[in-house]
């Protein structure tokens, strides 16, 4: 066994169990149901206990054992739940989480773990702490068999069997019970000392005697007893008056024994018949792979995609039908491989969303807010690395929503709203993107107020009439800029929504904010489903080429005479019934004017409900590009989200299309 592998598995799985536990605690607190969450918590804690004991992580094992015992009481209805106890449970879940993260072999419980247990004891109804100590094997089911031992019952016909269990037997009571059970299969157990009940409850290795009325011989009996395991010694003596071994079919147990034999015979037949059966059964099997391996695969397929592109370019220049055929096959196989690798990296967003209810609850409690939190679209899938990166920004948005968005219950009531604020975290698929939406029905952002304040602080030009999203985000995240009455320690200071925005843009995504004063705020994060390889349009402007990821591309068209018109001195694109502004990539990247603009093409880009026509000199094709990100520029004015190597080996910058709007 490789211990480090198990350590990793232990942590991964314990984290999963903790998220189950936290969710169940929330459900329990909300009083949705009792039985299911309590069972789920019990199971989760039990699983962590088993794993940590196996790893030798004593502190975690003991701590989870205590929790398990308490939940067993809750389950049995012996422990009432109270808000205080719920808080103590949440604290215990946190302590357990810390314990899991810091688990070391043979480490004793930390002071904070002990404190949490003490608190649990206190609120669980003034039980003495001694009741909560770890149950040693010997503490379990200590039932003293003080009843008179009916030794005389051993006198009588049959075989007297004396069994001695090994000193290291685990659960000796169960083993003893199994001995009795096996003996019952070969005869009738007329008496046992100690009694069968007492044996079953025994917690220390036992020496016990059984009188068995049977037609079986000594060696058969001994074999039956030894088949149980952990048996040190067995003696079998024939008692006076017992029937000699015979073929009497009516002897007690004899018939059952005969059945046992037939079963064995049938087993042989079945084993022969097994292979055919098994060949026909489909098996879905899983392996766990280290994430780094998937990353390596992704990098390799990325490089392969680039090489494929170069090969295509090279092959195109040659007249060799066989080569083209082989190229076509290779191209298809590389695409299939790419799809497979991409798919294998997708995980449901639920994996990180599941820990948010707990977070929202804690923040809400801390701030005295009443929040109804809902999660939608947990099953939507995202690339593992995108998902890992997006957790932190989402946390930030949720905290912001609870802290600055949602009002206090009394304020809401006064405004004619429900006391509890609604907060929704939703994931949706939208073509090749995934949207992550954080929506609240709180006070919203008052654009006019932000604008006034921004002008006051000189953040925007004094003549500014309206604030677009990006400018607004830049303003409200500006250090020292706040329209909120107080600064709390929940959302933190300084690290604002601009940090969220730059993170999202580094991932090739974009951020939209919709807000209405008094009605709430919706922040939408648009992300590419996969991170490293995106499909992009290649556009030429002058002698340079740029990649435009398809995430924000709606359609493309040739520039016709009727498409671009002048409205109030500005160029606009008239597309069907829609009028949208025109942007020239040439201006955006600040290239000097070219000579010939006759062959311009237009890419309609969109973000949310905003669209624009982006004019380029020429569209040269579509390609899968491998994104090499560079550090996001934090001033909010960056034009590019990364760079890539094109199929012909030339580098190209990736235009942050979403940000142009």
């Amino acid at each position: 066994m490789d211990p480090s592998r198990y350590a990793e598995l232990f942590r991964t799985e314990s984290r999963e169990q903790l998220s189950v536990i936290n969710r169940a605690l929330l459900a329990l607190e909300q009083g949705e149901a009792m039985r299911e969450p309590v069972d789920a918590i019990f199971r989760g804690v039990h699983t962590i206990k088993g794993m940590s004991a196996t790893m030798g992580y004593t502190a975690v094992a003991e701590f989870s054992h205590e929790l398990e015992s308490l939940f067993d009481k809750v389950r049995a209805g012996d422990q009432m739940l109270s808000p205080d106890l719920m808080d103590a449970f949440f604290a215990a879940a946190d302590a357990l989480e810390d314990g899991v993260e810091q688990a070391r072999e043979d480490a004793p419980m930390t002071a904070s773990m002990k404190r949490v247990l003490e608190r649990l004891n206190d609120v669980a109804g003034g039980r003495s702490t001694s009741e909560f100590r770890v149950v040693k094997p010997s503490d379990v089911l200590r039932i003293t068999s003080e009843q008179p031992v009916p030794v005389e019952a051993l006198d009588g016909p049959g075989m007297l069997i004396t069994v001695t269990q090994s000193a290291n037997v685990l659960l000796p009571g169960v083993r003893a019970f199994m001995v009795i059970q096996r003996l019952r299969a070969v005869g009738e157990v007329a008496a046992a000392v100690p009694t069968v009940d007492a044996l079953q409850a025994a917690t220390t290795p036992q020496r016990f005697r059984v009188r068995l009325v049977t037609s079986a011989g000594e060696s058969e009996i001994e074999q039956a007893v030894r088949s149980v395991g952990d048996i040190d010694a067995v003696t079998v003596e024939r008692r006076e008056g017992s029937s000699a071994p015979s073929a009497t079919p009516v002897a007690p147990g004899g018939e059952r024994r005969a059945q046992g034999r037939r079963v064995t015979d049938q087993l042989g037949v079945d084993e022969l018949g097994l292979p055919a059966d098994k060949g026909a059964t489909p098996r879905a099997r899983h392996v766990r792979i280290e994430l780094s391996r998937l990353d390596t695969l992704l990098n390799l397929i990325g490089e392969l995609v680039i090489v494929r592109g170069r090969l295509q370019v090279l092959a195109a220049g040659l007249h060799a039908p066989a080569l083209h055929e082989a190229m076509a096959d290779a191209t298809r196989l590389v695409s299939d491989l790419q799809t497979e690798i991409m798919t294998s990296r997708l995980v449901p967003v639920g994996q990180i969303f599941d820990r948010f209810p707990r977070l929202v609850r804690d923040v809400a409690r801390q701030l005295g807010k009443d929040v109804l939190f809902a999660i939608e679209g947990k099953e939507i899938e995202l690339d593992r690395s995108v998902l890992d990166e997006i957790g932190e920004p989402v946390v930030h948005l949720l905290r912001n929503a609870v802290d600055h968005g949602l009002e206090r219950p009394e304020v809401r009531e006064a405004a004619g709203k429900a006391r509890a604020g609604r907060l929704t975290l939703a994931a949706q698929r939208d073509r090749s993107s995934v949207l992550i939406v954080v929506r609240d029905d709180g006070r919203g952002i008052d654009r006019a107020r932000v604008l006034a304040r921004a002008i006051e602080q000189g953040l925007v030009d004094a003549t500014t009439k309206t604030l677009d999203d990006d400018t607004m985000i830049r303003c409200i995240s500006h250090a020292g800029f706040s329209t909120a009455e107080t600064v709390t320690d929940v959302s933190g200071r300084g690290v604002g929504i601009d940090a969220v925005q730059s993170k999202v843009r580094a991932l090739g995504g974009s951020l939209e904010v919709q807000t209405a004063a008094g009605a709430g705020t919706t922040v939408t994060i648009r992300l590419p489903v996969t991170l490293a390889i995106v499909r992009a349009l290649l556009a030429r402007v002058g002698g340079e080429r740029y990649a435009l990821p398809l995430t924000h591309v709606r359609e493309t068209m040739e520039r016709g005479p009727a498409t671009i018109r002048q409205v109030q001195g500005r160029d606009v694109l008239v597309l069907r019934d829609e009028v949208m502004p025109i942007l020239r990539l040439r201006d955006v990247v600040r290239l000097p004017m070219g000579k010939d603009e006759a062959h311009e093409e237009i890419v309609v880009i969109e973000r949310g409900d905003r669209r624009a026509g982006l004019v380029v000199d020429e569209l040269t094709g579509q390609e899968d590009i491998v994104v090499k990100s560079f550090d996001a520029v934090r001033d909010g004015a960056s034009l590019f989200s990364g760079a890539t190597i094109l199929a012909d080996g030339a580098p190209a910058l990736i235009v942050d299309v979403g940000n142009l709007l």
Binding site: G56, P137, L170, V263, D270, R283
Partner: protein
Amino acid sequence: MAPTVLICDDAIFMRTMVGDILQQAGFEIVGEAETGTQAVEKYKQLRPDLVTMDIVMPDMGGIDAVREITKFDPKARVLMCSAMGQQSLVVEAIQAGAKDFVVKPFQPSRVLEAVQRVLG
């Protein structure tokens, strides 16, 4: 041919550990189940030579699963995987038809001894 095993436990950690122990001893792991219901279904489908069964699982617990499996196939060979302190549950499992048990934390030698006993 290697004996076939179905491993039933809601923790991947435990399934991996039991799987490693048995695989190294020459067994073929033909299936895994995370719940009692799955265990019963997979038993019917795979007909393994041996089943390792956790007691505490979501949906349907291990003891009920043993009962169902034994009802379907009285010859089924089920090894219970128990935690310390589950004495009475293990007795119940044996009564339900389990052939033997091991106690967590697992020691490979103990697991293999128990398996040998179960396969007889």
